[in-house]
Amino acid sequence: MSEPVIKTVNIKRAYDVPGGKFYALKGINAVIPQGTFAILKGRSGSGKTTLMNIIGGLDNPTEGEVYFNGRNMSSLSERDRENLRRREMGFVFQTVSLIPSLNAFQNVEFSIRMAGGKINKESSQRVEECLKLVGLGSRMNHMPQEMSGGEQQRVAIARSLAHRPKMLFADEPTAELDSAMAAKVTELFKSMTRKEGITVLMTTHDVGLMGAADMIIELENGERINAGEEKES
């Protein structure tokens, strides 16, 4: 295994509740090496979305550190974190997250725009490549409303890849898909790690998909229950 893309040190996340604090995360340590297809597993309420948001820079830990490519995320400004997200990360959400007024091609292209990439022939080729990758090469000009949920989700995946991020976060991307489609999408993520060298962190509670993972991080009540299963580097 190569350099870790993600390294978390004792992450805690507390919420103020009446009568004290509630710890959604109680000290998570994890290391995800580059090119890994990691699955974040756990029941709902186990803290997996919170952890993912913190790793992705959408949320700040109450305690602990997150290192992305060796950089301490909490030392970065909000602005830098945003730039980090738009250039080096990709996101896939549970719900349909395409921009309704853009067609499939434009939605995918948009991540290149966001990352500050030039819009030219090369970028168009990249968009097509990504859409072909998710099996939608023939539907590039369709609007989101004209596609099924699974198709939209695949466009979202293509979008999350187009700007060649180092890290891809997928929060329950298969939740609204049928199992055949879920398997296909999961396989797609895995193949990304192989073809593009991307590191993928995907949350799911679907045990049937665990077989694809290079690494599983399992949470229960804010604690990691399979710590140490991966090698520290």
């Binding site: 948009f110 966001m114 004209e146």
Partner: protein, 933 residues
């Protein structure tokens, strides 16, 4: 269910508050119109009565009946009549303030028992008037006793001073009738007990039968009745007069129709129809109805666009509400709720909003109508002249209609939505159609219709001004054409707007940021949902501008016209006494009153003599005559006192006066001389004054307008057609005319000091005890013009319409803005998660608002200007008075526009604040969660 509804309403409280605001405004506006109209009509009617009283001096609201009954049937007829007459007021539906019955015997010959040498034969009118005791003041002698018969059996009478002098009576004198006998066959005698005068000079008691005041020998009323109309009455022919006077303040506008109908019945159906006299009263009422109809038609037409906007607003907001609740409805529906239950949910909500709206809206409407009544000018109020507002049945009806519309706007869409399940919804969302109006080219159709209206009205503008002369009301088509044009142009703008955005995108493509890219795409593809708000914005702004221009133009033109027509601030002409010859016969020469007193006019900045002769003429051929008006002026002084707007004449006003000043024999003549009689500059004209004395002058120039000069005189021919005749004016030197014709009665034209007060003028006139032949006061006339109920009503309705549209526009825009942000919270969350900066989201939203909001505002301004330019001139024609002289000028008050822009600017600024607040409160992780529910 109720709990669910309240929860639902609380959850969407901003939405519901907006709906409530819409309800309140709709109810208030709708209710205020009939209230305002009612009180405006009452004032109009009251003014008519007062006017009659002031100009005619007689009580305006009076019914009176006169009859002379012959000798045989006199008594019995009188009995029947009296009974009948007592019921007339109630038949008319009125309570009399004063009723006067008067009877008198027809003239009878009599002799004084004093055997006076100076009076031989007397013609006596013996009579009695009801309640006379309370209306006389004795000047000499005393009033008759209660019975009216003295110990000698003589009838006691009182007479006025006029009668006393005329008949040469002496108080205490006894007169005996030659042929009238009492029951015993003895000659009837009376004694003059006293001389009276009316107790109060302004007493209308004497008006109906004032011949008795000047000639009657008046005995007690009851005694008269007993003696001449009773059971064993002496039979003589009797004249009777029954009059009832009504308090005109009690006659309110809604009673008028009934009174006219009843009066008509009295005149044509009653058995005493030949004796009814209600002519003036009825004429006033009928005149009022004519005026009222013209005003009411106009006001109704002016109100329509505002009411339509209000209804559109409600439907828009409730549409937004359903849009937001679409998901919830379909979820509830899929979980097994019946369509009926959903409908009821919205019905209750609608009822709560409608009823609350009415509770607040009705008092607000009353307030509105008061404000309407105090409008002096567009957006200007004069609280001292507010109206007395009473809630009427008509207002109740309007209220019910408004409530119905409100309720419908909130509940009706529920029927459609309650049928939609989540499955349909997804399908619906997938469908993206062009809007129906776009496919049917409604915009082009509407534009076509309005252009047709525009051209046909323009072509027939002569007919239009003719219609004004005959008192017709504003043609609804005319007004609707302008509204149709606004809607059509607004829709057309919506049609081309995506192309404009596309063009801008094309130009700026290379430099477009990610945020700009999204907003361009959003607006190029997704404008359909914004159509309603954009159209709404366009319509409010253009209607607002149009209304402001209409109101300003109509009023300003009327005022300008009055100011022009008057010629100078004040014009005074004294009655000149005629000189008499040695036999005391008038010579036809006038004696000039003392001119030096004019120097004491402290209120005058400047004054000058003007010879004004409107019976002058120019001989044409051997027998023909052109009737002209002749003016003799001192050019320098005249120029300092008068002025003519540069924009309506070819040269500067002073240029004309200078041209005249340079030539002692020169004359300035109206253009009509050139147009109709082919005169040229340098030609000579021999003109004659009223008395036929002539002078010859050389034309130095032709003018189109001159202070006080009406280029055309229009009116109605006896056959109902209208005419418009050219008028002729010759202006020459006063001194030249004076030297040739002697001093003729002149007018004094005055320019007032800045701070001159009308009171000063009156005091001056009073103190010099002037007898005036002519007095015009421009300020008074302008005030009168501005008081015209039609202008007032128009101003009121337009002002309120303007205010309401501005409120709606602001609220509507704000709601749309907030909605469009909240609707897309999820997408913004996604964008933020992907690393979009807040600044970029801000940028994106600003862009969108520029494309939909600012573009609409700009389109609204453009369309408003265009509409004003096209339709105000036509509209103004229909308002112009029959003595409109000046060409129409389009008036826009910059301050109105600033108010409009200011409010739009404020709303947009508020939108920015809302945006910033929403953005800062937006939590990315929460926004994302939104979608997971």
């Amino acid at each position: 269910m109720l709990r669910i509804m309240l929860q639902k309403m609380w959850h969407k409280r901003w939405m519901n508050l907006s709906l409530l605001l819409g309800c309140i405004l709709l109810v208030a506006t709708v209710v205020s119109f009939p209230l305002y109209q009612k009180s405006a009509y009452d004032r109009l009617l009251n003014d008519e009565f007062k006017n009659h009283l002031a100009t005619d001096g007689t009580w305006p609201t009076m019914t009176s009946f006169s009859i002379t009954c012959n000798k045989e049937r006199g008594g019995s007829t009188i009995k029947k009549l009296e009974e009948y007459m007592s019921k007339v007021p109630s038949d008319l539906g009125l309570t009399p303030k004063q009723t006067v019955y008067s009877y008198n015997l027809t003239k009878a010959v009599a002799h004084s028992e004093m055997n006076r040498s100076d009076v031989a034969e007397l013609n006596i009118v013996l009579g009695g008037m009801s309640d006379i005791e309370n209306h006389v003041k004795m000047l000499s002698g005393e009033i008759f006793s209660e019975t009216g018969i003295d110990s000698e059996g003589r009838i006691e009478v009182i007479v006025s001073q006029d009668c006393l002098v005329d008949k040469k009576f002496l108080v205490g004198e006894t007169i005996a009738f030659d042929h009238m006998k009492d029951a015993k066959g003895k000659a009837l005698r009376f004694v003059v007990k006293g001389v009276f005068e009316p107790a109060d000079n302004g007493d209308f008691y004497w008006q109906p039968d004032n011949k008795l005041l000047s000639t009657g020998c008046l005995m007690p009323f009851e005694t008269f009745k007993e003696m001449f109309t009773g059971e064993n009455a002496i039979k003589y022919s009797i004249s009777a007069n029954y009059s009832s006077m009504y308090e005109y303040d009690d006659i309110t506008s809604e009673k008028v129709e009934t009174i006219i109908n009843n009066a008509e019945h009295l005149k044509t159906k009653s058995k005493f129809k030949s004796v009814v006299k209600i002519h003036e009263f009825k004429e006033i009422l009928e005149n009022y109805i004519l005026k009222k109809n013209r005003i009411s038609a106009t006001l109704v037409i002016l109100q329509i666009p505002v009411l339509v906007m209000l209804a559109a607003f409600l439907f828009m907001i409730s549409g937004q509400m359903y849009e937001m609740e679409k998901n919830e409805i379909s979820v509830i529906k899929s979980r097994g709720s019946s369509g009926g239950q959903i409908f009821r949910l919205y019905l209750y909500q609608g009822l709560v909003l409608t009823i609350t709206g009415s509770l607040i809206g009705v008092p607000l409407g009353t307030l509105f109508s008061r404000i309407l009544g105090s409008t002096r000018n567009f957006l200007e109020f004069d609280t001292s002249r507010s109206l007395n507002v009473v809630f009427t049945d008509e207002a109740t009806m309007y209220l019910l209609i408004a409530m119905g519309v409100t309720l419908m706007s909130i509940t009706l869409p529920a029927i459609k939505h309650s049928r939609v399940t989540i499955v349909n919804l997804k399908q619906q969302k997938a469908l993206k159609k062009k809007a129906l109006w776009e496919k049917l080219f409604i915009d082009i159709v509407l534009l076509g219709v309005s252009f047709y209206g525009y051209y046909s009205f323009n072509k027939n503008s002569a007919d239009l001004s003719g219609a004004v002369l005959t008192g017709e009301s504003l043609d609804p088509l005319l007004y609707i054409s302008s509204s149709v044009f606004i809607v059509g142009a607004g829709l057309f703008f919506l049609r081309i707007q995506p192309y404009i955005i596309r063009l801008i995108y094309f130009i700026t493509k290379r430099r477009t940021s990610p945020a700009g890219f999204i907003s361009f795409q959003e607006n190029m593809k997704n404008t359909k949902k914004q159509h309603l708000i954009m159209l709404f914005l366009i319509m409010t702004i253009s209607l607002g501008m149009f209304h402001a221009t209409v109101a300003r133009t109509i009023l300003q033109n009327a005022v300008d016209n009055t100011a022009y027509k008057d010629g100078a601030d004040v014009i005074i002409q004294e009655n000149w006494p005629q000189k008499v010859d040695e036999n005391n016969r008038p010579t036809g020469e006038y004696k000039e009153p003392d001119f030096s007193k004019y120097a004491t006019m402290d209120f005058a900045a400047k004054y000058t003599k003007v010879l004004f002769d409107d019976k002058a003429f120019v001989k044409q051929g051997t027998t023909g005559r052109i009737a002209i008006t002749l003016m003799g002026i001192h050019t320098k002084e005249f120029g300092q006192i008068t002025n003519v707007d540069r924009s309506i004449i070819e040269k500067h006003y002073y240029t004309y006066l200078n041209e005249l000043a340079e030539n002692r024999n020169g004359i300035l003549v109206s253009r009509s001389f050139a147009n109709i009689h082919n005169y040229k500059v340098g030609d000579s004209i021999t003109y004659s004054n009223e008395r036929g004395e002539s002078l010859t002058g050389t034309i130095v120039d032709f003018f189109d307008y001159f202070p006080g000069y009406a280029p055309k005189a229009s009116g109605i021919n006896p056959d109902g057609t209208t005419y418009s005749d050219d008028q002729f004016l010759i202006v020459g030197h006063y001194d030249v005319m004076k030297n040739n014709w002697g001093v003729r009665p002149y007018e004094i034209w005055v320019k007032l000091n800045e701070n001159a007060d009308n009171k000063d003028i009156f005091n001056w006139i009073e103190s010099h005890n002037l007898s005036l032949k002519k007095y015009t006061n421009r300020n008074n006339d302008i005030d009168e013009t501005m008081e015209d109920p039609l202008l007032q009503g128009t101003n009121g309705v337009l002002t309120m319409g303007f205010a309401v549209t501005i409120i709606l526009c602001g609220v509507g825009y704000l709601i749309f803005w907030v909605m469009s942000i909240r609707e897309r919270e999820l997408i913004f969350g996604v964008l933020r998660a992907c690393g979009f900066h807040k600044r970029e989201i801000f940028h994106l939203l600003i862009n969108e608002q520029i494309f939909s909001g600012l573009f609409s505002v700009a389109a609204g301004i453009g369309i408003g200007k265009l509409t004003s330019f096209m339709f105000v001139p036509i509209l103004q024609t229909s308002y112009a008075s029959k003595d409109q002289m000046l060409p129409m000028k389009l008036i826009t008050e910059a301050s109105d526009m600033y108010k409009l822009y200011g409010i739009i600017g404020a709303v947009m600024a508020l939108c920015l604040v809302v945006l910033v607040v929403l953005l800062f409160r937006m939590n990315v992780t929460k926004a994302l969660k939104l979608g997971e529910e």
